[in-house]
């Protein structure tokens, strides 16, 4: 039984369609990340799941229970979930302990049981001595953890996190990512994690839902998302993918087929049933391409930029025959070329992006 079912959810703001028939099933105990750029609808989706807004169409179920639809709406206080807001939303007039204990107080849990659970929650997030402090005096990371403790103390079966690491610095972010991962492992809570940062999503999630302009583009594991993006937008969004026009030359065999891209032939991955066609798109990642060795075939490209990444270079070049495409790859030290030079780029691997129509036929 899925813990959370979103079934063709629709939300309109005036004439603007913020959620366009989004359907996602989140398994019990799964860590789902909802990834997308600003304005893609992920926060709107979160607010629908939480119940702060009403749906215009479709339905949302938590477990067996219908919580949102065009006709029904169960208010947030009866949905039994937990949320960590982007701004943490800690109540300034209460101490840390009071903030964390709130959900328990509402549920009628009294001391000493309540005090015990609050202490346990604070322990879980590593804030043992902070019970009597006021939120105004805490650092960003500490507030983050209080928000998490507050969310967890009522032991909800579903936890929503709204870009929780957005306001933290890089090191803290890494540490908190660890926290979340360990926490998820330990408790097995279903978590829905909203973010625009794909590194986070990739690191933490069991599956990622990629959204753009109110639509769900692809729902898959991070690995699948990375290796087999379902369309050009996902391909470009994840892992800095490069999308090039290609012609499929042969039928798939053992998951691979031959393609011609900008005059260069290469063997790349494709889906079974990929037809031979000349209007295809190829998704390349930086690790899929490299500077051609002596004697190897390669795409002629003019180097535009070379930036040092610490141990290796990132080389950006434009193909001579397609100046509007920017390719980038990693090259070891020492610098293999300088801006303005022409280099040859070989393609080791790639993925033929399925045609949307074909996908639909297959579905």
């Amino acid at each position: 039984m899925a813990r959370l079912t979103i079934d063709r959810a629709q939300k309109r703001f005036g004439s603007y369609l913020a959620l366009d028939h989004v359907s996602i099933d989140v398994e019990d105990g799964e860590f789902l990340a909802v990834l997308g750029p600003s304005g893609c609808g992920k926060t709107t989706l979160l607010r629908q799941i939480a119940g702060f807004d009403k749906l215009d169409g479709g339905a949302i179920r938590i477990g067996e229970r219908l919580v949102s639809s065009a006709e029904t709406h169960i208010p947030p206080e009866h949905r039994k979930l937990g949320i960590v807001f982007q701004s943490y939303a800690l109540w300034p007039h209460m101490t840390v302990a009071e903030n964390v204990a709130y959900g328990l107080t509402v549920a009628g849990v009294r001391d000493p049981e309540r005090a015990r659970r609050v202490a346990a929650a604070l322990d879980l997030v590593g804030l043992n001595g902070f019970a009597e402090r006021r939120p105004g005096l805490l650092s960003g990371g500490q507030r983050q953890r209080v928000a998490l403790a507050r969310c967890l103390v009522t032991e909800p079966s579903l936890v929503l996190l709204d870009e929780p690491l957005a306001n933290l610095d890089v090191h803290l972010r890494a540490a908190m990512e660890d926290e979340f991962a360990r926490f998820h492992e330990r408790t097995g809570t279903t978590m829905v994690y909203i973010t625009h940062d794909q590194a986070e999503a990739m690191a933490l999630a069991d599956r990622i839902a990629v959204m753009d302009r109110g639509r769900l583009l692809q729902l898959a594991t991070p690995s699948l998302l990375y290796r087999e993006p379902a369309n050009a937008t996902v391909a470009g969004f994840i892992g800095e993918g490069m999308v090039l026009p290609a012609t499929v030359l042969s039928a798939p065999q053992a998951g691979r087929c031959r393609v011609d891209v900008l005059g260069l032939e290469a063997v790349v991955r494709c889906r079974p049933g990929q037809p031979v066609t000349d209007g295809a798109k190829l998704c390349l990642r930086a690790r899929d391409i490299g500077l051609a060795a002596a004697g190897q075939d390669g795409l002629a490209a003019v180097v535009e930029r070379l930036s040092y990444q610490g141990g290796h270079f990132r080389l950006e070049a434009r193909p001579a025959c397609a100046g509007d495409i920017l390719l980038h790859l990693d090259a070891n030290e020492p610098a293999p070329a300088a801006p303005g030079d022409t280099v040859r780029i070989a393609i080791h691997d790639g993925w033929v992006i399925p045609d949307a129509e074909a996908l639909r036929e297959a579905a």
Partner: protein
């Protein structure tokens, strides 16, 4: 029905019940008096008639008074905002010393009746002015006092209501977190620029609330134009109404009702303008850090402190000294010195005159009660108006202005018309009891509580409420445990305004009081009218001292209140 569904149903019932309960209450307090006046204006004696309407609209005096009212109300508001606003900024954001004491002193003049202030200023500018005589600038006996003019009225209105703007703005400034100012300063902006581009835009809700309150207060003020306008032949709508009432004759109540409705229309137009200005803009402050670090004034600190304190002394001490000196002389006009000074007035007022003692207790209980009740109504009311955007309440929001804008005497007349006969079902009569006065106070001062609270809501980030919702708290619990503490500073500002205004108010209770239900304003007024100014001054002095005492006593339990609730405590 499943357990979850009954819970949902209960939530819905709670919310809807609360909403409609509030709608009913506000309709009762605001619409009922207005409705009764409309009936009196257009259908006196039960018969539809437009004669009063025609007479009022055709009279050129009506339009002169309307124009004058608009001019003085707008100018008075501008002055009050400039004075009250700058003082609030200086007192809250800079490092001047003795900030709390200053705030305390600046708010006190709200307690002194406008006519007392007017008289004190008149004497300051008049030939018998001690101050002017000292510096040799006293005008010769009989020369025209410059305060008997439109400019004099505007000056006094501005000074009277500057503390109002001060209170609302200060409550808002206290919610401003230091990061926002520090970010501006760090970007290299001059403090004045930070003020203009960061602080003031964010302070738009409390400023606009203060402006709206101020405008309506100036529009409906009777005491100052009565004192300064009548001799100067400068008429405004409230004094015109009083004039009509004094003239008697048939149909006078209808005319008075229509003129009051005219004031109400102008007040509502002002509020609609305010609403329009605030539309579609986000004033929410999302960080929860501590109060803003003051701007440092450096070498400007001493001059600014001197300026502020001299101003407070001028505005507060002057009228109070006038009261005090008059209370110590045996008869008006007798100079005060060691030989003439007497405490006989105090003795009479405190010991002999039973009505004075009763009036103290009555006024205190009614003002404190009204302040408390109104704030209790306004917190959920503000919730539904700002966050739930309930259309019914937003309309009623406008209606709440009317009982405050119209002259007190007209509200009293409306109350009489409404409550003279016993209440329909309960068969109990409110007339000639304290309860009719309480009703009038609730109706009149509702808006004094509502404006600050609404501006408070506009500054709060709603995720704070949403977090409580997710934690399982229903609306009543959220209102009490999360929302009320957040909106408390604004609410207390409102409660204070209501208490201070109601404690001394006169025009409403002048018609509604009865034996046993006297108010301080009524007793002082009757002393004045009878030529017993000395008794009036003694009573007024005691009132001021008692109020100061009450306000000071709040600092005793200030520790237990959340930060920022009391305006004079950091």
């Amino acid at each position: 029905m499943s357990l979850a569904d009954t819970a949902t149903l209960r939530t819905r019932v709670e919310e809807t019940g609360l909403l409609w309960g509030l709608v009913g209450l506000v309709a009762l307090l605001s619409l009922l008096p207005i409705g009764r006046l409309v009936v009196e204006g257009l259908a006196p004696g039960g018969q539809l008639s437009a004669t009063a309407l025609g007479k009022v609209l055709a009279s050129p005096t009506t339009w002169t008074a309307t124009w004058n009212s608009l001019v003085t109300a707008i100018s008075g508001t501008v002055l009050a905002v400039l004075v009250g606003g700058s003082v609030a900024l200086l007192a809250t954001l800079t490092d001047i010393r003795a900030r709390n004491a200053f705030t305390f002193c600046f708010v006190l003049p709200l307690m002194i009746a406008p006519q007392v202030t007017a008289l004190a200023w008149l004497q300051l500018f008049g030939p018998s002015s001690t101050l002017l005589k000292l510096i040799g600038l006293a005008p010769p006996l009989g020369s025209r006092n410059p305060l008997y003019s439109r400019e004099g009225i505007v000056l006094l209105l501005g000074l009277q209501y500057a503390p109002l703007v001060f209170l609302t703005l200060r409550a808002g400034l206290r919610a401003l977190p230091k990061e926002l100012i520090e970010a501006g300063l760090a970007a290299g902006a001059h403090p004045l620029m930070v003020l203009r581009t960061v602080v003031l835009p964010l302070m738009t809700p409390p400023l606009v609330a203060g402006i709206a309150l101020c405008f309506v207060s100036c529009l409906g003020n009777f005491g100052i134009p009565a004192f300064l306008g009548i001799p100067g032949n400068f008429i405004v709508l409230p004094t015109l109404i009083y004039q009509r009432l004094a003239g008697l004759g048939p149909g006078v109540l209808s005319e008075v009702a229509i003129l009051s409705l005219l004031i109400g229309v102008i007040a509502m137009a002002g509020i609609l303008l305010q609403d329009f200005m605030m539309r579609r803009r986000d004033f929410r402050i999302t960080t929860t850090s501590s109060a803003a670090r003051p701007f440092e004034l450096g070498r400007w600190r001493r001059p600014v402190e001197i300026l502020l304190w001299s101003f407070a002394i001028l505005v507060l001490a002057l009228p109070f000294l006038g009261l005090l000196t008059t209370s110590l002389i045996p008869a008006f006009g007798v100079p005060l010195n060691a030989a003439t000074a007497t405490l006989a007035n105090y003795a009479y007022v405190l010991i002999e005159h039973a009505a004075s003692r009763r009036a103290f207790v009555n006024s205190f209980l009614m003002s404190a009660g009204a302040a408390l009740l109104i704030v209790l109504i306004c917190v959920p009311l503000g919730y539904f108006i700002v966050w739930k955007r309930s259309r019914a309440l937003r309309l009623l929001n406008l209606a709440a202005e009317l009982p405050y804008a119209m002259p007190g005497v007209v509200l009293a007349i409306a109350a009489i018309l409404l409550f003279l006969k016993p209440l329909p079902v309960l068969n109990v009569s409110l007339y000639n009891t304290v309860w009719i006065i309480v009703f009038a106070y609730l109706a009149r001062f509702l808006v004094l509580g509502l404006r600050p609270v609404v501006s408070g809501y506009l500054q709060i980030d709603r995720t704070l409420e949403e977090a409580a919702q997710v934690a399982g708290a229903g609306l009543p619990r959220r209102l009490v445990t999360v929302i009320f503490p957040l909106v408390a500073p604004a609410a207390v500002a409102g409660a204070l305004l209501i208490f201070l205004t109601a404690f001394n108010e006169l025009t409403v209770s002048a018609l509604l009081w009865s034996s046993g239900a006297e108010t301080l304003g009524v007793v002082v007024f009757s002393f004045e009218q009878g030529g017993d100014s000395t008794y009036a001054s003694a009573l007024a002095t005691i009132t001021v001292l008692v109020t100061v005492g009450l306000m000071l006593s709040t600092t005793l339990f200030a520790q237990r209140l959340p930060q920022g609730v009391l305006p004079w405590r950091d």
